[in-house]
């Protein structure tokens, strides 16, 4: 499932590879065989499946341009998300 890119607002940028769209999750209907393997009657039940990763959603919400920033533990990055806003336990020195 794609949503319009929250970094560039759909205009195209490196985060969305210039397409204006960003894939944030895989989604679809559950294959009947999967339901049967889970012991459900696939003739009666159908299902939706979503595979969400918080990374892409965070990128969109906060305008993060590079997904690697989320996993680097850089204090100058993490401190921007302090709660309550503006409260910095340690002022990053650079």
């Amino acid at each position: 499932m794609d949503v319009s890119c929250g970094v560039c607002g759909g205009a195209g940028c490196p985060a969305c590879k210039g397409t204006g769209w960003m894939e944030i999750l895989g989604a679809g209907m559950v294959h009947p065989t999967v339901l049967e393997n889970c012991g459900l009657d696939a003739e009666r039940f159908t299902g939706f499946a979503f595979g969400m990763g918080p990374g892409r959603i965070a990128m969109n919400r906060f305008g993060i341009t590079d997904i690697r920033l989320l996993y680097e533990s850089d204090m100058r990055f993490l401190a921007q998300f302090a709660e309550p806003p503006g409260r910095r336990a340690v002022e990053p020195s650079a």
């Binding site: 533990s73 204090m75 709660e83 340690v90 650079a94």
Partner: protein, 791 residues
């Protein structure tokens, strides 16, 4: 898969806009990765008419031409081409134009004669390899007309991302079929210029392993590896360069034009997704062309000039004596079509996907043919491919068809699937009319038989769609062709869940909020990385050799986070992470997964403030201890903190170690500070909620005991002894002060404990307190050799 926009236009008989194609193909499930305009830089080239040709005064091979480029004044052009002729028209590049090869034209003198532009050859325009002379244009168009208006060569190459389940999309015909569904129109094969009206008719079907066609023995002796084998014998061909339109088609999708016969087989592969091969009949021993198992150790020199050693599980094509091709992968040099070839055997066969993949991997060569056979070609489409290829060869190389056979030892019918129309409505949530369903299925090539008696459709699946196997596949196909955005949208009733989170999830939230309140920042690191210890679990099939192990603990990756910050000159770091650690020892060889929290501290304890007089102090071991106690209380409330040789540990009620805290050993850079780290396993049980106990109504009394403690006696131990000896009246014991001096002796200290006494139901009496203190002093002296410090 590379597509040519013009090739598709030939199928769909309409003008196509590349951007529109990108959108349509994306909606059909074949996203376009790139659109590459072909022949860029030709829009500046115009038609130039040569009015006069005169010899160059200073050079034998050059001529001076006067060229009319439609701008009134004739241009003075020096030309070296042998074929330049007055009155004819050629592509002309004016001064200021940059040719596709990068040459920028300017006004200059060539051997003393002025030249204002250039008459161009096909190669100079990037239109082919011909460089015999400049490109003559047999056109009525006026001088100055753009070249692209005369030569219909403007094209775009679309690079499409085709999923492995859709082999039919590896040919232009399959893509045209999809686009015809999208446009709601029809499509048909483009006509081949110069093809004879009566081409190859029906192939002679032989349900045995061999047949003889035109004196050539053909067939398959290995029906498991080569299911069906068709061969056409064509005699009297003239091998030569392909006509321009054919070469352009191939070059548009990135294939190289070789000669008219080879190009014909490649054209059919790119159009119908059937790899084919042409053999030089004169070079066949036997003559025979037969698919069989390879013999172990047999060798063959493939068309790329490499000697290949074969294994017994490969299917090969052989003549009476030797291997002439690796089945489904590549032909051999020994029977290659060359300029001298006059008679051909054209093969179109169907090779087993798994066998082809194994052969390709063993030989370490991937070809356009193996790529297609691995994904599955249309077993029922071989005769059509032969007919198309024969028409192309007759049109471009001449010759006549002598014989055509279709060796199919075990013929089969395309699979049939039953589709319940009610099931379509149930799964898609929209009742599509039966004629609409039929229309979609017919558009992708299915044969549909309506059986109204039991509300089912009998659907015969076309051979080019191996992905359609069961009813659900057809329903998915109907949804795709209907368009996912054409289904009605609605909001379903939704009620927020009222069930509490799992206790462990509640613990995680509690730990997160607690450590954020301590001023730490939450990090997220990867659960894969370098091995934490020799016991770390290694992945069977890691994506990268560095990130091949499951982490046992979180602290190492947080320490790496500190190093990352240091590498960016960030000195003050306080991080925590909640996540999973993995250890050996689960059932069935599976790892045990524990939820853990880890934290690291380094650098300034607080932000700089003017009251600090130039910098806050750095974190020390006692900050670590305080944070460890808080973390243990949050994450594993029943565990207790104990002193340990390396720092502190936490043990749960059974004595098992559930956490540790210590100064990390990694040396900080000179400008940074030591690193302290801790890690605690989360308890899966939440602490019991607080129960109120009544606030005391009676007064309390306290005494200070100044005790002399020997080396290695922790205050904690003293408190434990004081409490147990003091009896029920002791309400609390605290350390008030500590004193060390040389007079006390090495490692000895005087610690002042304040003991509070209270009786819940009455005012406590001095005698009771005195008796209790006496018991305490006796106990600490006996158990810990601690005495009251006097004077």
């Amino acid at each position: 898969m590379n597509l040519s926009r013009r090739w598709l236009e030939g199928f769909l008989r309409r003008d196509l806009d590349p951007q529109d194609l990108v959108r349509r193909l994306a909606m059909l499930g074949a996203p376009v990765d790139a659109v590459e305009p072909l022949h860029p830089g030709l829009d500046q080239i115009v038609i130039g008419q040569v009015e006069t040709v005169a010899p160059h005064p200073n050079a034998d091979r050059l001529r001076v031409c006067m060229v009319n480029d439609g701008q009134g004044e004739l241009r003075h052009v020096v030309c070296g081409a042998p074929n330049v002729t007055a009155g004819k028209k050629y592509p002309f590049a004016r001064v200021g134009v940059t040719l596709p090869g990068g040459l920028a034209l300017e006004r200059r003198k060539i051997r003393g004669e002025l030249s204002e532009g250039m008459l161009c050859s096909a190669r100079e325009l990037g239109l082919g390899q011909e460089h015999d002379g400049i490109l003559e244009l047999p056109t009525e168009a006026a001088p100055g007309t753009p070249l692209l208006a005369v030569l219909p060569i403007a094209d775009e190459r679309l690079v499409v991302d085709v999923t492995p389940n859709r082999p039919d999309l590896l040919g232009h015909k399959g893509m045209a079929r999809e686009l015809a569904c999208s446009f709601g129109g029809s499509f048909r094969l483009p006509e081949i210029p110069g093809a004879p009206a009566s081409g190859l008719g029906t192939l002679r079907r032989v349900e045995e392993f061999h047949a003889v066609a035109g004196g050539v023995t053909v067939g398959t002796e290995d029906p498991a590896g080569c299911l069906r084998f068709t061969a056409v014998v064509i005699r009297g061909v003239k091998v030569g360069p392909s006509p321009r339109w054919l070469a352009e088609r191939l070059e548009a999708v990135g294939a190289r034009s070789i000669n008219n016969v080879v190009d014909a087989t490649n054209y059919v592969m790119l159009e119908l997704n059937h790899p084919m091969h042409a053999y030089d009949l004169a070079r066949l021993r036997g003559p025979a062309v037969v698919a069989r198992r390879a013999r172990a150790g047999e060798t063959v020199t493939t068309l790329d000039g490499t000697v290949r050693v074969l294994t017994a599980d490969m299917t090969v094509i052989a003549d009476a004596e030797r291997v002439i091709g690796v089945g489904g992968v590549m032909g051999a040099e020994n029977t290659e079509v060359s300029a001298e070839t006059t008679d051909l055997v054209v093969e179109c066969a169907c090779f087993d996907p798994a066998r082809t993949r194994r052969a390709r991997r063993t030989l370490g060569m991937s070809t356009d043919a193996s790529y297609r056979f691995e994904r599955g070609v249309d077993l029922w489409g071989l005769p059509d491919a032969q007919r198309r290829c024969a028409a192309l060869i007759l049109a471009t190389a001449g010759g006549s068809i002598e014989d055509a056979v279709d060796v199919w030892p075990e013929p089969a019918h395309p699979p049939r699937v039953f589709l319940r129309t009610a099931r379509v409505a149930q799964l898609l949530g929209a009742a599509l009319p039966v004629p609409t369903i039929e229309k979609y299925l017919v558009a992708i090539g299915c044969t549909v038989l309506n059986k109204p008696d039991d509300a089912r459709l009998a659907v015969d699946i076309p051979g080019w769609r191996p992905d359609l196997r069961t009813e659900i596949d057809l329903i998915e196909e109907i949804a795709r062709l209907h368009g996912y955005d054409n289904f009605p949208t609605d909001l379903r009733p939704y009620r927020v869940g009222r069930l509490a989170d799992q206790p462990l999830d509640q613990m995680i939230t509690r730990v997160r909020n607690g450590l954020v309140a301590q001023g730490l920042h939450e990090a997220a690191t990867m659960s894969l990385g370098p091995a934490d210890s020799p016991a770390a679990l290694k992945l069977l099939n890691p994506l990268s050799s560095e990130e091949a192990w499951l982490r046992e603990a979180l602290l190492p990756s947080l320490v790496r986070g500190v190093e990352t910050n240091w590498s960016r000159r960030v000195r003050d770091v306080r991080l925590f992470e909640v996540g999973a650690g993995f250890a050996r020892g689960g059932g069935d060889g599976r790892p045990v997964e524990t939820t853990r929290v880890a934290a690291v501290l380094t650098g300034a304890r607080t932000p700089a403030h003017w009251t600090d007089g130039g910098g806050a102090p750095d974190f020390d071991l006692w900050d670590l201890k305080a944070l460890f106690e808080v973390t243990v209380a949050l994450a594993n409330p029943l565990a207790e903190v104990h002193l340990d040789v390396s720092g502190w540990v936490a043990r749960d009620t059974t004595g098992r170690q559930v956490g540790h805290a210590r100064r990390m050993t990694l040396p900080p850079p000179p400008w940074a500070a030591p690193v302290f780290g801790l890690e605690v396993e989360l308890s899966p049980t939440l602490p019991a909620p607080v129960r109120y106990t009544s606030v005391p109504t009676t007064p309390s009394s306290w005494r200070d005991l100044n005790l002399l403690l020997g080396p290695g006696v922790p205050a904690r131990e003293v408190i434990r002894v004081l409490r147990s000896a003091g009896g029920a009246l002791v309400e609390g014991v605290e350390v008030v002060s500590e004193f060390r001096s040389e007079q006390l002796g090495p490692e000895r200290r005087a610690v002042q404990f304040r003991v509070t006494f209270r009786a819940p139901d009455r005012t406590i009496r001095d005698e009771e307190v005195d008796q209790s203190v006496a018991r305490m002093l006796k106990a600490v002296e006996r158990q810990l050799d601690a005495k009251l410090r006097t004077a």
